[in-house]
Amino acid sequence: MRISIANDFSDVPWGRYPSDGDVCGQIFREKKLVPALKAGEHVIVDLDGVEGLGSSFLDESFGGLVRKGHATESSLKSQLEVVTTQREFQMYVDLVWRYIAQAQQEIGRELVKA
């Protein structure tokens, strides 16, 4: 399944929480990413066409998948692909995987504490 953030969600994604607006990271995660991942499909998220992405949006959308228990870093590595043809957007792809890895580490640390 291919999800284009610009076409299927918003070309101006904004903020982290619903209190920040209807096109925030949390809503993108819950309405778009989680259903696609739960369906067991290979999910391709296309970043092309957005006007810009904040790290807060990316962290809440993708890091939140791990923090909220919807997926693990290893499951996402096999099920999720983040793509762009815009060279200046490559940093967003790197950030997505960084936030997923960081969220996994957070979960690991919490488990160790517990």
């Binding site: 904004w14 903020g15 982290r16 929480y17 209190s19 920040d20 006007e51 810009g52 992405l53 904040g54 790290s55 807060s56 949006f57 962290d59 060279r87 200046e88 957007f89 490559q90 940093m91 967003y92 790197d94 950030l95 960084r98």
Partner: protein
């Protein structure tokens, strides 16, 4: 006359080819210097935007102003990323560390509670932005192949950046 021409021909050709390559070298160096200058300018502007944005918490009164700043910060990040891409395509020896630093910079500028109504002032985040910007400027200076003159040029361009940094540290 013909003999004289024959004797001079190799010299003329050597001079023409030499001038062509020398010209090419200096034009290419000047283009790269201009690109670096633009990156430094954009980094400087980004630093100022981040200082303004992260030094005060979100407030409804300033929401439209903050929205503009948020868009500006994201736009500048894209501009810097595109310019660094361009430099790297011309000078592959520019270390990949710069790409990592750009990701760090994007995280520092637009992470945490960026674009959130719950955002608080975050001086630590701003200091992180300044540190990363300085590191990127240093990485650009490491392009030794450009020669000492260019390194001095970059240094001069980035001088204001560093001076601004010290100023901002006092303000924040």
């Amino acid at each position: 006359m013909l003999t004289l021409l024959k004797a001079l021909l190799p010299t003329v050709i050597t001079l023409a080819v030499g001038t062509f390559w020398l010209n090419r070298f200096f034009v290419s160096r000047a283009n790269l210097a201009a690109l670096v200058e633009r990156v430094c300018d954009a980094l400087d502007a980004l630093k100022d935007d981040c200082a303004e944005y992260w030094s005060v918490p979100y407030s409804d009164d300033r929401s439209s102003e903050l929205t503009v700043l948020e868009a500006q910060i994201k736009g500048r990040m894209q501009q810097i990323s595109a310019l660094v891409d361009l430099i790297q395509s011309k000078r592959p020896e520019l270390s990949d560390q710069v790409r990592v630093l750009l990701v760090d910079l994007h995280d520092a500028c637009t992470g945490g509670e960026f674009e959130s109504k719950q955002r608080q002032a975050d001086r630590g985040r701003f200091m992180r932005v300044v540190r990363i910007i300085y590191k990127i400027a240093v990485e650009l200076q490491r392009l030794k192949i450009w020669g000492g003159a260019l390194v001095e040029f970059i240094d001069a361009q980035c001088h204001d950046l560093r001076a601004g940094r010290r100023g901002s540290e006092r303000v924040i």
